[in-house]
Structures are given as C-alpha cells and as structure tokens.
Homo-oligomer: 373 residues x 2
C-alpha cells in the first residue's frame, strides 16, 4: 500500500505537473495541507522534506514553501538540451505503430536525438501518467498520438503546461481541437469515402460499415461512409453502421457481423472496416459462417498495414503514410527545438494532411461476379 506521506507527495507533484502550482508560487502551509489531505503534521512535513530534497519545491525562511522552477533547472546549464524526445502513442508494439516509430526514430537519431517511447493503451489515465513522466524527465520535445481523441480530454492541463514550460509538441494521426497543435494527419473523411465508393462502384448496395467512435479518425471515416452513400444515391439503412469503442472492440463488431450474417432475408455483400486489424478479425467470422471473401462478401480494410497481406485473402485497403508521417513528425519537432521558436509560434504552423489512396487487392470484387471453376 502507498504510504500516507507518499500519497501527499504525489498529489503535490501532480499539481505542479499540471501547472496548477506555478514556479515560485506558494505551496499551501502545513496546516492547509493537513486539512486538504486529512493527514497529520508529521506526514505533511515528511512529504515536504522529500519534495525539497528532490528539487520540486524550496523553502524561504519565514515565508513558507514555494514551487521550484524546473524549466530553469532543465535549460539552466547554459541552455543545454537533453537531446531526448518523448513519443507517446496509443499502442507501440503492434500494428502500424512500429512503422511510424521507425520513421520518427530514423530521422531523429540521424540528427543526434534519442527517442523514448510511452504508450497509453488508449486509456486516459495512462495518458496522464505518460504526460507526467514527460514533464518530469525534462525532454526537449514530444510527439504524441492523442488518446480517445473523439472525447473531451481531461489531460488538457498537461498540454497547456508543456506549452508554458516551453516543451514543444507535435500531434500525429489526430489532434485535440481546442489546443490547435501542429499536427500530421490523414484526410480520414476522404479515406472513408473512397473505401466505400470502391464497393458501391462495384455494384454493392448492402454495405456494412464498422467504425471505432472514441477516436476522431473513426468518426471521420464514418462521415466519409455516409457521404459516399449520398453521392451514389444509394439509400443507407441506419443498421448498416456499427460503432464500437476501445473497450468493446473485441466483442461488438464480431457479434454484430454474426447477427447480420444469420439474418435469413438478406445478407450484406460488402464490409468497410475501420482498419486492417478489424478486417482480419471479421474475416475469421466470415470463414466461420462458411462464407467466402470476396465471392460472397467483399471486405475493405484501412491502413495498408502488414496485416493486409498476412492472411490468405489479401486486403483491399487504404494507404496510410506511416513511416513517412513519422519521419515528418520527427523533422518538425527537430526544427522547433533547433530554431528555438517561441512556443506560441508552433501553433501557427500549417498542418500536414496526407491524402488517402486505395490499394486494390483480392478481398473485393464486383457484385454477382463468381469465379468459374
């Protein structure tokens, strides 16, 4: 169990890292802290002493305890940089993340910077811990993929404090709208549109779309899905859109597809997927139901990941810039640091928006086309 004084210590540290207590601002008196955290004077003293020792706060004779200026500490040694960049992604060991990270690392290591990786598992609480670590460890910059980007972000304080502390950051794949950060993203509306147009143009009319809606990419691809139906004049039945979240991604899509495929009256003939990972999961469901891709059902993925060619069926998918995006993110953060631009200037940089391209493989075919054996 966490000791009481450690609890108080971490609470105060978190207040400092969120910028709620600014450098040289007074930290509450012993009595105030005792009241706030409902602990003894002894506990407060022990927490304060350790925070002083660790350089988080300092004491001024007769005046009280104050928040230390850690940014001065960091760049204090003649403006020396740590040459260390933090990268926070939602996941890092699988899917397209290794490619993105390879792009970032390749560029930065060539330019004398080291990269440290953090992952949030698309969990807000873990993102908070990552941001605390980044703020504590004095990185020169941060490349970050937002966590649950379609929902209001409770960690916005940390980003504002990065800005205040003079640590530049660049967002990839998505961005928190209210912060207007420099960002590198795909045109996901267009991506969803061309995925869908591809199968509609092949004559499919009953097309299911599966979209993850706690990340903004999913919402945008879904917008493209709706747009494509309108353009083609093909009525879109509301039941054809299936949304899921990080927490339900293993269950909802599989169950919903199974249900659509057991419907006796009419079967969907094409499926548009949020990404290749999902497409592969749904391929298993289709196989299970003794149906074939693309003969019975066409499947479109997204991201052109290694998974798109890993299965027997090679996926028609949408190209994601991956390594190129990583490299460009590295180049941007490098420039911010080297040019010593005022942080407020970073927010005026033109974003990079990658236009999607469809890659046609053998998971899709025209409606009614049957292979002749």
């Amino acid at each position: 169990m966490e000791t009481k004084y450690n609890f108080v210590k971490n609470k105060i540290k978190s207040q400092i890292l969120q910028g709620f207590i600014q450098p040289h601002q007074k930290v509450g008196s012993e009595t105030e802290l005792m009241k706030e955290y409902e602990v003894s004077r002894h506990t407060v003293r022990k927490a304060i002493d350790e925070l002083v020792n660790d350089g988080w706060i300092y004491k001024k004779q007769g005046a009280g305890t104050f928040c230390a200026d850690r940014s001065a500490l960091k760049s204090g040694t003649a403006g020396q940089q740590t040459k260390n960049i933090a990268v926070i992604t939602t996941y890092f060991s699988d899917y397209i993340f290794p490619s993105i990270i390879r792009g970032i690392e390749g560029y930065l290591s060539k330019n004398g910077y080291q990269v440290t990786l953090f992952s949030t598992n698309n969990n807000i609480e873990q993102e908070r811990r990552c941001l605390e670590a980044v703020l504590q460890q004095g990185f020169d910059g941060l490349i970050v993929e937002p966590t649950k980007s379609a929902l209001p972000n409770p960690n916005i304080n940390y980003y504002l404090n990065l800005e205040r502390t003079g640590i530049p950051y660049v967002m990839i794949n998505a961005y928190y709208e209210e912060l207007e950060p420099t960002h590198l993203i795909m045109n996901d509306v267009e991506g969803g549109r061309i995925q869908t147009r591809h199968v509609l143009d092949l004559g499919h009319q009953y097309v299911l779309g599966f979209f993850k809606n706690d990340d903004i990419q999913g919402t945008k691809r879904m917008k493209g899905f709706i747009k494509a139906h309108r353009e083609s004049g093909i009525p879109l039945s509301p039941k054809n859109i299936i949304t899921y979240t990080t927490e339900t991604k293993e269950t909802v899509p599989v169950e919903e597809l199974r249900q659509h495929l057991t419907n006796t009256s009419e079967l969907p003939t094409a499926i548009v997927c949020y990404n290749d990972q999902l497409a592969l999961m749904l391929l298993d469901v289709i196989r299970d139901m003794k149906l074939s891709v693309p003969e019975d059902i066409s499947v479109v993925g997204y991201d052109d990941s290694f998974l798109s060619v890993a299965s027997e069926v090679k996926l028609t998918t949408v190209k994601h810039p991956k390594e190129e995006m990583g490299k460009e993110a590295g180049r941007r953060i490098y420039n911010f640091i080297e040019q010593k631009l005022a942080p407020s200037r970073h927010f005026e940089m033109t974003p990079v928006v990658y236009e999607p391209k469809i890659i046609i493989r053998n998971s899709t075919q025209g409606l009614g086309v049957k292979e002749i054996n």
Copy 2:
C-alpha cells in the same frame, strides 16, 4: 409495470423507427421473436396483432409479417403534407430558447405551418424519445439543436432514418459532424476569443475561463480562450481553465470559483463565462465572498440574453443571433419542404455562421481602475 406484450411491441417499434427494419422487410417469425425477447408465443402474437392494427406492420398470407411503409402512408394522400414542423431543443422554457423558438414560430406560422416543441434536457435518452416521436407522428420537417454535441451520438440512426424517410432536418447552435447536416451556428471560437481579448486588452492577466465541455460550443469557446492568450503573449496557467458538464453545471463552477477566491496568494481579476446563465451564478459567489464586480473582478458573459441585464450588474456579453437564427432556420426548413428537394441535396447547402460581437456593459473594467467616490 409494463406488460410483456407492450415491451415486445415497443422494441419492434423502436427497431422500425431506427430504420433497423426497413419498409417491406420481414419482421422475425413468431419463433424468432419468442427466442429474442424470451417471451411466450401468446405474448408475441398479441404484440404482432396490435402492431398490425396500428399500421406498423402487415401480414402476407403464408409469407409472414412485414414492416409497413409509413412514409407512403404519410404522403400517400395525394402527397399531402401535414404542415407540421417539429422543433427539438435542449431546453425550451428558459434562457435564450424562447427567443429562438419565437423566431422559428414567427416565420413558419406566417407561412401556414404549425410548430410542435420537444425538449431533451441535454439528455441522450430523452433525445431518443423525441426522435421516435418525430418519426412516428409524421412531421414534414425537423429543426433540432443537438444534445451533448461534443460526444459521439448514439442516436445517429434516427437521423439517418429521417433522411431515408424523406423528412428534412436543420440543426441549430451545433451539429453532429458525421451527418454534415444543413446547420446554423455561431462562430464560437471567435466568440470565446473576443470575450477573452476584451479582458486581456483591459490589462487583466489572471483570467479564469469556465467552459461546458459536453457541448461543442463550450469546446470551441475554450479554444478561443486559449487562442486569445497566445495572441496576447500572456502565459495561460492550466488551472485557469475550468470545465464542467450538464450534470455538474450546478456544482463544479461554483466550487472552483470559491476555491480560486479563497487562495491567499493571488486572486483572479477577470472571469470569462460559457454563458450569461453561468455568469449570474458566479456573480452570486463573488457577492458572497464580499467582492465587487467590476471593481475587484470583471465578468464576461455570452449570449446577450435577458439575464445579462436582469441583475444589478449589467453584463458585458457576446451577442447571439437568437430570434434571427430561429427565423432563418424556419426559412430553410420551409424551403426544403416547399421545393421538394431530394434529401441528399440538403446536405450540400451552405451553412449559416453568425459572427459574434461583444456588447460592453458595466461588468468589466480596466485592471487597477477604481471608482472615485
């Protein structure tokens, strides 16, 4: 308690209203429905019989039960319209909603249409019930203010089904991005920016911003708040942004302001509010703490509602088009109906974006200015 057959009946109705069962599509067999809802054959039969009686479904000898085409029913009588428009707002009895509704009603009644009002209390479940009512009662069109517009919307099915059924809709104040509906909104980023610039230009440096972040207007005004700080080169301390939701609006802002005002080291000198309603609530807190507006603290509201001049202190605020927006929404929905445009064409209409203007009254003043008695 709801009877079992009523439960089944409502479930099937809801499936039809969401567009999960389309006109002339087969409704599950008795055995399937028994299994799905875990009820007896007797219960299923009773539910089916009533649905047939009410015109929701029809039976075809030997083939089963099918979903009726209610849109045909509606416009069946020689394309006759009901001359009835539904209006769904988050609230209607208070604040700026009466003015908006007056604008809508004024325009539509002059043109021979009747208006029916629904309110969601910014609750998703209530929005669902409103949309079900609108779909059931055969309105010619809908003007809707989205509920919890900053969060992914689980009722998107109903909107897609409105589109499919040929009932046009127009969104006001905010809109669900993925639907790309015709919409009439304020430029809320700019609104938040000019609210904040006003007090920063008056010399205030420690400015608190209170924003409701389950509606997109709040997120956008907050973006304007951050933007204004960056433009003015005034460092923004993360603790100066306070966010709250529909559920916490009565508690969080009041508590947070109280805490900021009991801080011994430094007091905020200005407050930027999400709307006039909140501003008035915070005026009470300030009075309670024996502080004066604008002598000790400047306060900026938003919306230029009747509340802005209701208190002793007349609020500096941002003009909301209210009645004008309502009138224009009425005009748009009227045109959609009269011109009999294909629903897909509605989504190509240019949105109306109202530019905000600040109205300066006596709740704000320059920092350090004291009245001479």
